[in-house]
């Protein structure tokens, strides 16, 4: 049933492919603004590149979140999802997985050309991409919680970033920390280990929180 649900989400987002495309294009465009704003000097840009990639990916991942459950709430599908026999937490996990596959993964794949465009240090590149794997997963999990909590609230779309962005600060700190450490020739493993520890904690907790929020939104 979990896989059936996941396949439904993927098929739906395939039919509305513009959502994924919009997130990736936003990512590329926002990152492309930085060389224009702070000048094309390679040393400055390369120094800032990991931070720019992370912040832009974070903002791009927020874009499709308000439709994650919003469409299902409006057309009544949410009731049927909750009555599908899956616990609400697993429904939320399926949604988070779908968000990662349709937004997180495309962002991860487009991060490499963007980082190259920003003249990132050659040593930092593999660590940046490696760190983005747990980071995008975390963004999907935190984002799912945020989307479920603001569900049904007036102006939920505005509330959502206010709720999710503070949660993602550790992702930003450790992700960028790892890439900076690598470009400085320092040990980058501890940062990534902390990032994966966060993921290990968020993987069971976020779906539970999102599931509880979904149940109360359906009431």
């Amino acid at each position: 049933m979990f896989l059936v649900l996941l396949r439904r989400e993927l098929r739906l987002s395939l039919r509305h492919g513009s959502d994924t495309l919009a997130a990736v294009l936003f990512f590329v465009l926002a990152a492309a603004l930085f060389p224009l704003a702070i000048g094309p000097a390679p040393e400055t840009l390369g120094r800032l590149a990991p931070g720019i990639v992370y912040v832009c990916a974070l903002l791009a991942a927020l874009l499709p979140l308000d439709r994650l459950f919003g469409a299902d709430l409006e057309d009544g599908s949410l009731d049927h999802l909750l009555l599908s026999g899956l616990p609400a937490a697993l429904v939320a996990l399926a949604k988070a997985a779908a968000h990662w596959l349709t937004t997180g993964l495309p962002l991860l794949l487009s991060a490499a050309p963007i980082a190259t465009m920003l003249r990132i240090n050659d040593d930092a590149m593999p660590v940046l991409l490696l760190g983005l794997l747990p980071a995008t997963l975390l963004l999907s999990l935190f984002g799912t919680v945020g989307a479920a909590v603001v569900l049904g609230a007036r102006r939920g779309g505005v509330l959502l970033p206010l709720l999710v962005l503070p949660l993602t600060t550790p992702v930003l700190i450790f992700g960028v920390g790892a890439a900076d450490a690598a470009s400085g020739g320092l040990a980058w493993h501890p940062h990534l280990l902390l990032l994966t520890a966060l993921l290990a904690a968020a993987l069971p907790l976020c779906p539970l929180a999102a599931g509880a929020a979904l149940r109360s939104a359906a009431e």
């Binding site: 098929r11 009731d79 359906a218």
Partner: protein, 195 residues
């Protein structure tokens, strides 16, 4: 047998009903009537397990029905006043999530939508969307059907086909609870008036 004893529910801050008791035997039907806002939809959502009961018990075959919500979800088929149809998917794909492939053709035939199976759901009229929502009931065997204004927007022929579905469901011992302002094809149904 579905039995309710002293159910009460809140909608926001307002107590919509309290001390509600009824009993529906296997193969039986219960019509919920009452003015707008009397809590018919809330009662159906409560029985589905979507709204929490503030007081009282719901008993299915002698057991507390709402103790395990995942297990309870397999027992009920819920039809809300929204159709839950995704315009981007085809008619058949809309049912794909909720039932096995083999069941879909039969469910579409039951509501007379077979010729439209491969059409995108955004092309459907309001009545056809309602029929697609009705088809979902026939997808999997759930003993309790909870129907919120099931025939809204349906033509006479579709109501007649729906009557056949309801009769078949009740013949296998299924229970039907329906909230409605329109006459439904439910012979010898009991009536519960909410105030």
């Amino acid at each position: 047998m579905l039995e309710a004893d002293g159910l009460a529910a809140f909608r926001g801050e307002r107590l919509v009903f309290s001390g509600l008791s009824f009993r529906v035997a296997g193969g039986g039907a219960l019509l919920l009537t009452g003015p707008n806002g009397s809590g018919k939809s809330t009662l159906l959502r409560l029985i589905a397990g979507l709204v929490r009961a503030e007081a009282g018990r719901l008993v299915w075959q002698g057991q507390d029905a709402l103790a395990d919500l995942s297990e309870h979800a397999a027992r009920v088929a819920y039809l809300g006043h929204l159709d839950a149809v995704k315009p981007g998917l085809t008619v058949a794909e809309n049912l794909g999530v909720w039932g096995r492939r083999g069941a879909i053709a039969g469910a579409l035939a039951a509501v007379g939508l077979t010729p439209l199976a491969d059409l995108p759901a955004k092309m459907l009229s309001a009545g056809q969307r309602r029929r697609l929502a009705l088809a979902r009931l026939a997808l999997r065997p759930a003993p309790v059907w909870l129907l919120d204004e099931p025939t809204l927007g349906l033509d006479a022929a579709s109501v007649e086909r729906f009557g056949v579905m309801l009769a078949a469901h009740r013949a296998t011992g299924g229970v039907v609870l329906a909230a409605t302002h329109l006459p439904l094809p439910l012979p010898d149904a009991a009536e519960l008036a909410l105030v």
